[in-house]
Symmetry: C2
Subunit: 152 residues, 2 copies
């Protein structure tokens, strides 16, 4: 849909350029295709005095999925993503690396692209799950994102 090669590796590189803080945290995309994105973050450098991952690191690995999904699902020569709000609920402490993942449907992609084309923007809710290395749920997020037309 666009010239950007939406591979996990390309997104990881782009992320560290666009949001240096996320790069410093060691966030890496692991899956990226239209409608689906996943990213990991190591515990090293992102922990607290209790040896568990800091809340802001869990927030970040989930939040960047909105941008990743926008890049892999929409024509980024036409639209760019904006986060409006995000709620994170902490389920249990994460003692090691975690992986966040989120998806939107093909129907959503089609409808959102059409709405942004018609109205200059389109809004969607993105729910992400953050799991530890054992697959246990450590946090969930629900964010409101928009795609907006360039110049709108």
């Amino acid at each position: 849909m666009n010239d950007f090669q939406a591979t996990p590796e390309a997104f990881t590189t782009m992320l560290s350029q666009m949001i240096p803080l996320a790069g410093q945290m060691g966030i890496e995309a692991t899956e990226l295709r239209p409608g689906h994105a996943a990213a990991t973050i190591p515990i090293e450098g992102n922990g607290n005095h209790l040896g568990t991952m800091y809340a802001g690191a869990l927030f970040t690995v989930a939040e960047v999925l909105g941008g990743a999904l926008a890049l892999s699902s929409f024509d980024v020569t036409k639209v760019y993503p904006v986060v409006k709000d995000l709620k994170i609920t902490f389920r249990r402490p994460a003692k090691g690396a975690v992986t966040a993942s989120a998806s939107i449907t093909d129907e959503q992609i089609t409808e959102l692209a059409a709405e942004a084309e018609a109205n200059g923007k389109a809004q969607f809710i993105l729910s992400a799950e953050v799991v530890d290395e054992a697959g246990e749920l450590v946090a969930t997020t629900e964010g409101t994102y928009q795609i907006r037309s360039h110049g709108s």
Copy 2:
């Protein structure tokens, strides 16, 4: 109420030891007393490709207020703070340093301390405002925190 000298400077030092990531972001407490806390974060190192502060940095400067307030308001030899969830709503882009602040009332402090003493934990909602250098609101947060008795 406790041996920890709850000054902004002491909290800033403690924060960078307990949550190195927050220290690296340059977060500094600016006000700290029972029932009230404020902290700032510079734009340097915390921006994105648009020259505005990254969402995860805004999250962090607001989130740490829960811990700051717990330290200044409760007897930390008896209780410690835990964040359960936090919603951040982005109002406008922040192009420079921002300051987050939050308060709880004296009545809340008394009631929460008594409840934690009786039940091992007590829960409260903390609302924070994040403003830029001109005093314009850039984000608001609403978090659910608990204080829990050590060993409970």
